[in-house]
Amino acid sequence: MKHKPSYWQEFTKGILKENPVLVALLGMCPVLGVTAFVVNGVGMGLAAAAVLIASNLVVSLLRNLIPPQVRIPCFIVVIATFVTIIEMVLEAFLPVLYEALGVFVPLIVVNCVILGRAEAFASKNKPLRAVLDGVGSGIGFTLALLLLSLVREIIGQGTILGPDPETVIHLFGADFEPMILFAQPAGAFIALGLLLAVVNSVYKRFNIK
């Protein structure tokens, strides 16, 4: 029997070692789609994290009740349920964020980070471990989106905490002409590539594997 990792390890692996975005390159659709502004990126990260934690818990609880032949449809239904709940809650209480995230909220259903964790981890582990894994991966996902959207908003818009005119801070004054490329989808790929290069070299230096 293999040595079981500690709870602390289950929690931290999703943040650094197995970060869903920066290492596993999963769930790229929202990563590239909504990271033009920090508020949207973090909002998307937290929404996906909430779904991930909830679905990990439920999948883990149901793991012995669901026959293996129909496990994937069941997981999808569980995930879709939580996504729809999140969507309705966002629309009711955070309409600004709901509109900014647009179609990417329903698309959390097919985010491979979530199905991936459900299938690869939650369906084989006890609820406490599954939740810790979900929290860790959720934080890792949110952190990656935060990093990318920071880069993209500062360079691509010259602001932070935008686009809401009440909170937005123009970092470089009114005459600054931002590098719009980074606010556009093409720039998202370039920014992600550069970010991955930096992350990889940091990982190498500190020997994180």
Binding site: M179, I180, L181, F182, G187, G193, L194
Partner: protein, 321 residues
């Protein structure tokens, strides 16, 4: 023991060409166009070129941690080519960021010289076009002022001949050939670019198939679908060849050794593809000019072209006889 047979692996025959000698030849070939740019647009064009070249060389030296600023000369060529496809008087920071992007995103992230997929200078241009569209397109082009070195060229600006029909009709084919029209600082003078192209061809650095296919396709498309607004179909075809970046693109950008096919047929296909995409963008796209993206797109499909145009090997044995 003198007669010992020395066995080594290929290559056995080496060319005396080095990266440095090729790059020096390209710099010589760019000289007429650069001179023409200074004659037409004055000191601001010279300044743009100097900033771009220095930035490109400095960024490359920093990235490779080298003391030698000129090194193999490829950074200087990239910097100069990037300046050639800029408006004559852009703000200095745009030149610096664009030249740095050329070197970093265009070349070094792929592993440096010889490994880049896309033409570095055009990557730099694409970056600045996407980022500061209002400074790279529209009625921002200074009127050339021949032989007025110290003139403030940005005082009077207009659209390029490609953008508006009245503009187009106010330039004769002859003045477009010499380069007295608004445009990017190195692209306006077909004459100077042809001189440079002749030098490169004489030195054997470029293959006629790419510029031939490119320019030929543009001409035929302009002739057939250009709408004959410029005097007649034939003149409209010539107009499309002389206006905008077709000449600099065909002679200097699309002939880059690293990012274009190596096979003869592949090069012809590459040139025709560039011309085709350019004209599709010009006639039916939302931008007045399409040379940059045409070449970048064709750079992207270069490996596929090479793959399908491998020459047949002679002397082989049939596999399933």
């Amino acid at each position: 023991m003198d007669k010992k047979l020395v066995v080594s692996s290929s290559p056995h025959i080496r060319t005396i060409e080095s990266v440095q000698s090729v790059m020096t030849d390209v710099l010589i070939a760019l000289f007429p166009a650069a001179l023409m740019a200074v004659l037409l647009f004055g000191y601001k064009a010279l300044l743009t070129m100097v900033i771009s070249v220095v930035t490109a060389m400095a960024v490359e030296a920093l990235w490779l941690r080298k003391r030698d600023l000129f090194s193999d000369g490829s950074a200087a060529v990239t910097g100069l080519l990037f300046a050639m496809v800029l408006p004559p008087a852009p703000p200095w920071w745009l030149v610096v960021i664009g030249a740095a992007s050329s070197i970093i995103i265009g070349k070094q992230v792929f592993g440096g010289i010889g490994y880049n997929i896309f033409n570095p200078a055009l990557v730099g241009r694409a970056v600045v076009v996407m980022s500061w569209g209002a400074r790279m397109a529209g009625p921002i082009w200074p009127q050339p002022q021949p032989f007025a070195f110290t003139a403030d060229i940005s005082a009077v600006t207009m659209a390029t001949p490609l953008a508006a029909q009245q503009e187009a009709l106010s330039y004769s084919l002859a003045s477009m050939f010499i380069g007295v029209m608004p445009g990017c600082l190195g692209e306006t003078s077909t004459l100077a670019l042809l001189l440079g192209g002749a030098w490169l061809y004489y030195k054997g650095h470029i293959d006629w198939r790419i510029p031939g296919g490119f320019i030929g396709t543009v001409f035929i498309f302009g002739l057939l679908f250009g709408g004959a607004f410029y005097g007649g179909p034939f003149e409209t075809g010539l107009f499309h060849v002389l206006a905008g970046g077709v000449m600099i693109g065909a002679i200097f950008m699309a002939t880059d050794m690293v990012t274009t096919p190596v096979t003869a047929n592949g090069r012809l296909i590459f040139g025709i593809g560039c011309g085709l995409i350019t004209m599709l963008i010009r006639l039916w796209g939302s931008m007045p000019e399409g040379v940059t993206f045409a070449i970048l797109i064709m750079n992207g499909v270069t490996p596929i072209i090479d793959n399908f145009t491998i020459p047949r090997q002679f002397g082989g044995v049939k596999k399933s006889a």
